[in-house]
Symmetry: D2
Subunit: 393 residues, 4 copies
Amino acid sequence: MNEAAGRHFLQIPGPTNVPGRILRAIERPTIDHRGPAFAGLGKKVLSGMRQIFATKASVSIFPSSGTGAWEAALVNTLQPGQRLLICETGHFSTLWAKMAARLGLEVEVIEGDWRSPADHRRIKSALAADSAQAIKAVAVVHNETSTGIVSDIPKVRAAIDAASHPALLLVDTISSLGSIDYRHDEWGVDVSIGGSQKGLMLPPGLGFNAISDKALAIARSGGMARSYWDWDAMLEANESGYFPYTPATNLLFGLAEAIDMLLEEGLVNVFARHDRHAEATRRAVCGWGLELWARRLEEQSSSLTAVLLPDGHSADALRRTILECFDMSLGNGLGRLNDRVFRIGHLGAFNDPMLAGTLAGIEMGLELAQVPHRRGGVGAALEYLAQEAKSRF
Amino acid sequence: MNEAAGRHFLQIPGPTNVPGRILRAIERPTIDHRGPAFAGLGKKVLSGMRQIFATKASVSIFPSSGTGAWEAALVNTLQPGQRLLICETGHFSTLWAKMAARLGLEVEVIEGDWRSPADHRRIKSALAADSAQAIKAVAVVHNETSTGIVSDIPKVRAAIDAASHPALLLVDTISSLGSIDYRHDEWGVDVSIGGSQKGLMLPPGLGFNAISDKALAIARSGGMARSYWDWDAMLEANESGYFPYTPATNLLFGLAEAIDMLLEEGLVNVFARHDRHAEATRRAVCGWGLELWARRLEEQSSSLTAVLLPDGHSADALRRTILECFDMSLGNGLGRLNDRVFRIGHLGAFNDPMLAGTLAGIEMGLELAQVPHRRGGVGAALEYLAQEAKSRF
Amino acid sequence: MNEAAGRHFLQIPGPTNVPGRILRAIERPTIDHRGPAFAGLGKKVLSGMRQIFATKASVSIFPSSGTGAWEAALVNTLQPGQRLLICETGHFSTLWAKMAARLGLEVEVIEGDWRSPADHRRIKSALAADSAQAIKAVAVVHNETSTGIVSDIPKVRAAIDAASHPALLLVDTISSLGSIDYRHDEWGVDVSIGGSQKGLMLPPGLGFNAISDKALAIARSGGMARSYWDWDAMLEANESGYFPYTPATNLLFGLAEAIDMLLEEGLVNVFARHDRHAEATRRAVCGWGLELWARRLEEQSSSLTAVLLPDGHSADALRRTILECFDMSLGNGLGRLNDRVFRIGHLGAFNDPMLAGTLAGIEMGLELAQVPHRRGGVGAALEYLAQEAKSRF
Amino acid sequence: MNEAAGRHFLQIPGPTNVPGRILRAIERPTIDHRGPAFAGLGKKVLSGMRQIFATKASVSIFPSSGTGAWEAALVNTLQPGQRLLICETGHFSTLWAKMAARLGLEVEVIEGDWRSPADHRRIKSALAADSAQAIKAVAVVHNETSTGIVSDIPKVRAAIDAASHPALLLVDTISSLGSIDYRHDEWGVDVSIGGSQKGLMLPPGLGFNAISDKALAIARSGGMARSYWDWDAMLEANESGYFPYTPATNLLFGLAEAIDMLLEEGLVNVFARHDRHAEATRRAVCGWGLELWARRLEEQSSSLTAVLLPDGHSADALRRTILECFDMSLGNGLGRLNDRVFRIGHLGAFNDPMLAGTLAGIEMGLELAQVPHRRGGVGAALEYLAQEAKSRF
């Protein structure tokens, strides 16, 4: 909790560097969540989040982590014993599957190597094989925060449609929302799951669901025994701008500011900025001669980049060195990637010099931690960023 | 969200007036919840909350509202179909019973008139009649936020013991924790439920459970299908100061500060301050000739006071007048008390002149809203506060 | 620097209670004072301050206390050895006279009893007697912060005009600006002097001059040797929104916010609010049976009230008691009023319940400090405030 | 005043990037500057500033810019018509000379080429030639903010001593204090002049003087007519921790925090950090093939670096490009260096990744603005910083 000389570089793939403008909004005095002033705030953030999710459908905001928003998606739409088809794309899809099992669902996992996106062909096969329609929902992580690999949601949708299967499509957008192009309605998603501490630039503490009418109808007659996560009670209170229980008011102040910032910049520009920073990061990684965990360009995340260390080298030792020497936090390898990869978060409130500082910290850290590498990474990134700046200005 | 001239008086019984010291703590930049600096924060708030709950047992902190902490208490200890005995003391006990029913519990309500505390004799009778020990838990609200009436937890504990019944004792301390004397261990409570936005002086967004070993043992072999609220995963991660999913880091910054503030003042002094403000408030109400909703001194809350309006007068009209004219928020009558009572929150970061300002706003509001009353309320409160100050200084 | 339970009541007649909205503005990251973004800020605050001073003339903003703005007024318009006529109205006029003497001016004091405003008849006589026109300026404190007595500036102007004397009129508006009606142009003032920490609701650190064309012309060919306080260099840089040396950027952020707040409320409403709080305070003082230091209604300040203690009673002991028992700061008696009066600041960001809390703290303090008084003061104030609220809503 | 995506890089040589910890300190509610709590603050900052100046002598803190602290040094020690010997080292020494002339001093300038430090030999000659001891003070800028060239103060002291001349030694430490080793007592300085917005990491608004006993004695019997800047009144009030007029309380809150931060890090470490960043910056400049304005290593500033552009290229165009494309502010060429040099501020709250980001922004800007250069600058800086990190960890 100490602040050393200069600013900490929080380059994990979320929580991200919260801008002062949002911190100051959160610092405003709490107001009566049942008073007239609150309704304006409630309506603003609900309407704003619909723009962020690119949906005209319902959005729910929970005082919870993103994990809570996962749980909300499951308990509203599925009954104990019902089957959930989930694509193993990495640590977070695995955790989601575990959660589903703990909640009493029958979980069918399409196993993966953690280095590929969700396989729409195998989804289609699994659904086609499910003539009894026992599968009630398909769960996919849009942007796997543990691997930096993006799944193609429209293709997943097409696979479900091609199988003429009624399963709901549940998508985790926690580390893509507000950073990578995402379209709840256009892509035919039934439940999108988000969190506050990534592209939305807030501290953690808010979970989001965008909910299709189909999902909502199912929830109204089905789902598990539930209370806190219940959409219906939430949406009913939301109509007038209020919440069925005390909301996390100050984080909502921050959310209103975050929505303003994203819309002022323009979502298209926000996405292009993230794409640019991801490409610059990849050029740095290649410049260092290190291996990107994500192998194919179209699958590489624009919000984070996972980097594989050469055999015999510890990613955690590297991260520790960088934290100690340069006051910079990087993401660790999770689950089976433990100590093998490190993850660079380049999402949220971020700009070219911040990225350059980040990549510089890593390049110096590679040197200090004696990880075999070439020096040109930062240079390659700068060359690209300069080119891109030329085309923008 | 506008701030008019001067400070808003947030005199609902929570959220309370968040002190600047806590707001500035919350405004600190978010840190890596998996990094080494976080562990110190995690351990500090967990240990501090044990002091606040007066327990050596386990404490869980959820990114949630207090409602979420209720749900955590239920889903960890009870299975669908099991019976919960709950004392109807007001709106919040009723909501809790509804939640229990929605979660599939069989709820046995000891009905109440909303004007009395939990009746330990009827609890004893109900348990004595339960020879099959079908009742698995007794749920009591310590301080009913809707009525300002406090239940005697040691007597409830004694009633359970007298019936030699193994039911767990679950207690909602949401609007008493950090304001009114409360002792999880000494009083033999199994699960205590708290929230951040009352006596802890934080914005809403954190829910707490203090958990006896007995409750924990039951949870380990029982409870409902659950994930987000699961104590076991939480406590395991907590051992090293971390959390099983992303915690609400910035609210934890504020919590660390709040714990420091409460312990600096001393819990005994904090409780005495709340007792004093409650008594001053009651003297004002009597001075106005209005009726306290809580009838017996030993049952009157030290954190809020509910006041009954004379027949034919609207509590909401009064509250609206006071909000418009004096920028002061008071609590509304909930459920069956709708428009009949208003509630004065005098908990959290509060001192004598703030209370005097609050009572003055109400006295003037009574005049403006033409509620029949005498004028001497504020005077009576000041006389008492001055006396008390004499004895303290 | 510790914050005890609840909010400190800063009821000295400045610095005043700085609103959160302004504190958060001041907390924004400092920007380049020579960069393009700064120019907008500079122009905004300069133009806004013209509205606050009710002038179309020039305004200068110094990184200084209000004392610095006094010095600026003198060194720009007067040469060593020139004569300044100053009306002794209290401690601050006396300090101003001392400053003038230290700066080498010949100071002619119209002595006063500290209980009366500037005497326009004696000003007229002094000027009429000055056939050589040796007097180059007349200095008057609009609102004497040490006594709570307001001088009638239009009458002073009329006196100068009636004497057909070319002396400049210098007016200290430090504790009236933004609180009490003040009109630089309409009242024919040559230099108005202000500070940030009173009606402008900012922390201390900015000094202001509003400057008539006549004063500016004199400054251009006269005044003392000077540099920091030089209007000409300041105004030249201000043309483009910049400053000739590094300005107090973060206080300017706060000033921009303060101007917005005052204009949003409307200066007329701001003045009416201060008038109301002053009248309520006076009714409290009379209710206590204590003596107002200011004797005549039309001379009583709307931003502060000085109260005389009965013989044999110590104002400082009372103030100490109130600070210790109720965490409330009141203004002390200055100079010859030392320990005899205390001063209640009721200016700046202030509302009815804050005033009620303030008066309550004083009423209780009188009791605790055993100052002979009657108890009805707060009650009398509330009766008045309630009546006023009726007429407004 | 808008905050675009990511953080602004404020890399002018002051104001510097104010750390959040200091901004939050400044944001605390203003307190009574005459109350008991203030005395502790006053004493703390006065004592702390003595440590920063490395002096046991008196320190004065003015609500002013650094320019005001210059004026204070002059008006306290010199009388109109007295002679001041000043070394022209750049824009700021020139401004100081202009100020002295405006204040009525007879200014003797040792002319310089703006590319060399103060010439102690010529100082010695000038003093030796002054057999009448008409020169009352020698004024030197320690670290010329316009050129990035440091003067050797001990040699200047030795020159004065060698000439056996009683002239006072006045030193501007505005852009060195808290960044570059500076020792008021050991170096025999009579008046040191500082400001808040550079190495002290505060917003602008405070000016400082450290004052030798000799200077103080002269001030007590001499100096100009003065009031605001008078040391004597200031030091007398400071004895008890107070100020003779309203201090800039909230900036003092920040100053207390800044002192804590500097002493926590240790001044030796602070200086070493600045030295390291300066060397890295110079390596970058050389890597780009550009010319450092400061030619000799021992004269190169550790708090800023001025870079000369190749003939025919506009430094301001480059700065504009960098501001627009990378949201980074760099210092402009001042006076005769207008448009020919740009200045990189690397002082204050700053660390290796922030410097890397800064240099990256410049390297990309050189490309975009088509300034002839080689690309290796950032790489050379990183190589050096990595080496240095190795030796530290």
